[in-house]
Structure formats: C-alpha cells, structure tokens
Amino acid sequence: MNDVLYEVRGATRTFRRGDTTVTALDNVDLTIGASEIVAVVGPSGSGKTTLLQLLGALDRPTSGHVFFEGRDLATLGDRELARLRLNDFGFVFQTFNLIPTLTALENVEAKLAPTGMAKEDLSRRAAALLEEVGLSERAQHLPSQLSGGEQQRVAIARALATEPRVVLADEPTGNLDSRTGADVVDLLTALSEERRQTVVLVTHDAEIAAKAHRSLPMQDGRLLEPVPA
C-alpha cells in the first residue's frame, strides 16, 4: 500500500425520518491508500452511498472524522470543500446527472469552468477527454440524444476533467445493462490506473467488484471483515 489518502475514524451518520432516527453509517473505521481501486459492496440500504458521500465531502458525518490527505474535512468551510471537490474529487453517479440542457462537450466544460481556464483550453481539454472515452462524434449531442452507456462515459470524462486525486463512483452500472456496465467500469479503471488515481466504486454487483484491488463489504451501516483482493 502506498501513501494513505483517506482515513475514516468512527464515522457515524444518522438521519431523522419523522420520529425515528435511522443510522446509515455506524462507527466506520477505514483507510484507503493512494492509487487504490476499492469496491464498496453490499445490499441496498447498507450505507454504501452514505460512505461515498462522506468521502466526497458531499455530506458530513454526525460523529467521527474523515481525513483526506491528513486534513479533517469537518474543519473545512464550504468554500474549501468546493475547491476540494473541484480539484481533487471526481463523481460518477448512478443516474449520470448530466446537465440536460448542455451538450456532451459542455457537460465536461461545466466541470472545468470554475477553474478559470481560458475558453479555448476549456473546449480543447473537454474535447480531448471525450475522445478518450470514445465520444468525439457525440460531443454536440444533448444527454437526451445519448444512450445510457454514452451518458455514463460523458460523466466519466467529466469526473476526470480536472485530474482529481480520487474518482468516487456511486453504482455507475446501476442503470446500464451488464455488458455496457462492464465496459464502463473497465474504461473507468483503465483511465484511472493510467493517471494513478484512487477509485472508490460502490456496487452491489460482485463481477464489477472483482475488478477492484480490494472489496469492502458492508451491512447495516457497518464495515464487515475486509477481504483482500
């Protein structure tokens, strides 16, 4: 294992649903190294997505700590978290989450725009990324004109646009058929390995999980015995 990228200590996340409190994540301890490809597996409701959102600074734990490169995310303000998400994290969602009114190219540009990149660089870089995911010809298409697999490839290009340290993928194959899903995950892992990026992949598909270096099985918000890959 290389340098430690993430260190999660006693992370608990509870949600209030009416009168009852639901514990989505229950006292999780976890360490993830740089350039590691990790699969978080488990049935739905086991807390996989919650864990991923804590790692991506999309949410804060109710108690416990998430350290990213030694920095406690809880101590960072909204602006610093935004910068972190922009430069160090890349997200891939189950529902793709492309901006429906923007073309494939513009969706990638949307990730690059806050970096303040010049317009020409922006378009060139976005076009290059689309080429990498094999969608050069579909650059001017709107998400509604793309298939699920194509949309997810645009999302991968978008996630990789700022050369982040980590790619966080939440059920990236959930809305795809198994063949397309496998292709998408292969593409993601291949591109990330090239860039020596860390990938945290949430899935309930054992085949997909097998493509990771390591699987982290979860149940009822708890991390089970880690299984070395």
Binding site: Q53, G56, L58, D59, R60, D78, R79, A82, R83, L84, R85, L86, N87, F89, F91, F93, N97, I99, P100, T101, L102, E106, E109, A110, K111, L112, A113, P114, T115, G116, M117, A118, K119, L122, L142, R158, T162
Partner: protein, 561 residues
Amino acid sequence: MVSCGRVFYFRYLRSELLRRRTRTILTLAGLALGVALVIAIVGLSRGLDKAQRSALDPLSTIGTDLTVTRSAQQEGAGFGPGGGGGQLLDANQSAVTDLSKLGKPGTHFVHDFFLPGTQLTFPTKQTKQIASLPGVAAVSNGLVLSAVHQEGVVPKIVAKVKTGGQQLDVFRRIKPPTAAEFAQMQACLQKAGVGGAGTQPNGQPQQGFGARAGGGPLDSAAARKCLPARMRAFRARITTPEQTLKQIVDPPQTNITSSSYTIGGVDPSKPDIALVTPSQVSRGRYLSHAGGNEALVAATYAKRHSLKVGSKLDLNGTTFTIVGFVKPPLGGQSADVYIPLRKLQSLASEKGLANVVLVRAKSSAEVASVQKEIEKTLGSGAQVASAKQVASSISGSLVDAANLSHDLGFALAVIAAAAAFLLAALLTLSSVGKRVREIGTLKALGWSQRLVVRQILGECLATGVVGGLVGVALGALAALAIGALGPSLSASSTSGGGGAFGLGEVLSRTATTSVSLSAPVGISLLLLGFGLALAGGLIAGGAGALRAARLRPADALRQVE
C-alpha cells in the same frame, strides 16, 4: 481569474433558457402579463383622472365665477316680482292647458312648450343691480328653460256637461204682523164672527190665532183668509237656469309623444360670459352678434338626434339654423340647445325675463366677497353658486369612474403590482425548485455557492429583462388600444328637483357631457412595471438559488426532479 472562462456561463445561461423553451416561455408570459397589467391599470387610472380634470372643471373655461339663480324652494323674500312656487306652478301647468289651443281635434301637431322648471324668472333689469356691486367685472343674462317637445294628434279634449234643472225648496222666516196688519186681521175676523178678545191693539197677540176668545171656536179656514197677503204666500219654488259648460277632460287619450330637452337663451352681445362662449364651440361657429334665428346645440345632443351644422330646428313655427356645436362644461347653466336670449324670451312668452345671471368678478380673489355681496343684496331667495360649488353637484359615469380610480385605482395598481411581483417570484421559485438536483450536481462538480447563485440570478435577470420588455410593450399597446377604442365616459349634472310639481323629470334639467378615455403611459410607469418584474424575478431567484445552494450536495442530489 475567471474572466475568460465566463463565456461558458453565458452559454450555459442561454442553453438553459433556450432548451427549456416551454418553461421559459411560460415564465416570460407570466412576467409580461403582470407588467402589462400594472402599466394598463395605472395608465387607466391616470387617464380617468385626466378625463375628470378636463371634463369636470366647470365654469373655469368660460370666464364665469358665479351664477345667480332664484329657486322656487325659497319663496317670499326673493328678488323680483311674484312669489315663488305658486307662480312657477302656474307657469309649468301652461303645458297642460295649452293643449286646447293646438288645433282642431284629430289634426297632427308639433309643439314645444317652454317651462321655467325650478328656477324662477325675474326681469332682466335686475341684473343691473348686480352689475353695480363692487368687484363685479361683467354680468350677463341667461334664460334656461326645460322644453317639452310634443308631437301627435290633437286630442278631443272638449266634453259636454249638462247642469241645472234641479228643484230647490226654500224656507224663509216671515216677519210678524205689524199693528196695522193686526187691526185689519181683527176686523176681518170679527166680520167673520170669530171675535178678537184678549189682545192688545198694538202688541203681540197674547194667545195667538188659535186662542179661544169670547165666543165660539176659531174657524181656521176663515182665519187664513184674514192673514195679510205676504203671509199667505211665503213658500217659493226655484228652478236653476240650464247651461252647457266646456271643460277640459284630463288626461287626453291620444298618441302624443313628448320628449324633453333644455334650451338656453344666450345674450350674444356678451359672448365671453354667456351661457356658452365661443371657446366652447367644437364645430361650426358661435351665434352672430346680432342674434338672428341661429342655434347652437350641445355636441352630445346633436349626436343623439343626428343633427348637423346647418340643420334646421323648428320651434313653434320659427326656424332656427344650427350654426355650431358646443361642448359646454358641466354643472353650470348648460343646456342642449342655445338660441339668442330675445328669441327664447318671445317664444316662451317670457319677454324681458331671465332666470340666470352670470357674473364675473374682477379677480379670482374677489369671488368670495362678490358672492357674499350678491347674497346680501338679493336676499335669501337668490342662490349664488360659485364654480367650486357647482362642481360638487356633478355626477355620472365619469365621476363614478374617476372616484373609482381615486379610491380603487391606487389599490388596484398596488394589487396589480403585487401580483406582477408575486407572479415573477413564484414562476422563478418553481423554476429554481425544479433544479435543486442540478444545483446539487453542480456543487458536486466543485461549483461554489456563489457561482451557483450567480448562474441562477443571471437566468432570472435575463428572463426578467425579456419578460419585462415584452410586458412593457404589451402594456403600452393596451394603453394605445384603450386610447384608440376610446370608451366614452359620460358625466351629467342635474339642477333643480322636479318632484315638487309633479312633472318629474321634465323640470329637472340634466346636462351631460362625455369624454373619451385614454390611458396615458409615461416612461416612469413603464420603468415601474419593468422594475417590478425584474425585482420579483431577482429576489425570488436569488432566494431560491441560495436556499438550494446552501443544501449539502448530498441532500440536493437526493431531491427527485
């Protein structure tokens, strides 16, 4: 840092507006409607104010400060001869009695009756009294009459009534017999062998004729013969002489139709201060100075009766040529038809009489003192009205509309503005509400809160500007349409209460004027509407965006679209 990259944000903004066309059009339409509504309502309200000012500013345009009239309601101490209501009643009833003089029954007739209405007439000589008061600059006489135009078949209004022939019984008390008569009676009775004892020679008979006296009972038949002749024939039968009376039968059953209008006698030698002035002529010309058989008619009356300049008016055999239309202001002594004063005086058999004196003060500051002076001089029977008092008697749709615009116009404008503002806000809020997930995605991509809010605000600004501009155009068009279609509002002024003499409406004179409505729209109003839409959109957009952008991205992403 971001100067060059900004181009992306504009493209994003444009894409968002153009590719969500239905939502954008809906938002724009709502905004435009709200803005147009504010502009149209405020414009309309202003238009009503303007119309009211121009139509209801009575007398100010005709150089008259005060009008002096004499009303029947205040009898007695008036000025001029005659005593109030009785005289007026007689004058107004002449319309009924004159029917018999129209012609032979069964023939067609056209006749105009001129009635003084509720304003008593007085000799024009009295005007000089007013003219000599301090502060009075000019005076003029006017005669305003209610005219009843009747047309139809002369009714058979004569009936034969036979009277007399009755028998009357008359009873009279007869004087007692004198001493001479008494002596004669006694002699007569003695001769008849009845006897006359117990009586005094020259006094009342103590026991009457039926009293027993000396010898034998009284023979009544014999005694009656002895009465003096006048006492024998005190009963009389009177038979009244027979005669035939001609009497008016009321009401005449015929096809007579009557319509009423008001007619004013104008002194054409004093056009500046007359009942109508040359400045009120809207078409044609004013009456000639000499005062021939010329007439002016109110424009509204002319329209109602399809009269033209040059049309002839026949008033009881005298033909008048309409030389012009006038638009008299309301509230004064206005009428439907104006002819020279002398002509009206002779037509209406009111020679040398007037019922209005128009007074102009030397300066506006003296109006009040002149009014008091006239009231003092003429006594309580005179009614001196200033232009201001006259204005308060005006009623009609224009006044109602203007009052409405005063009372409700402001409220309506506020409501419309609030509606436009709320509409803008709600449309924007709903539009932002549907994009919470997109905002969550943008935050996950690393967009800062400021960037997200700026983007949404940019969209709101764009829709606000476009929607506001469309609304401004629509509002201006609506105002133009109102001006072009020009819904006509009328205002009328009624003087005199007719009910007093039973002739009702005929006696109360009503003057009507109409003003076509416009909705003036100024730059400030357009800016107001525009600003409201923009403010509504920006405030709501900003609030909605801020709320969504403040959510934890995880929460925003969980939102279902």
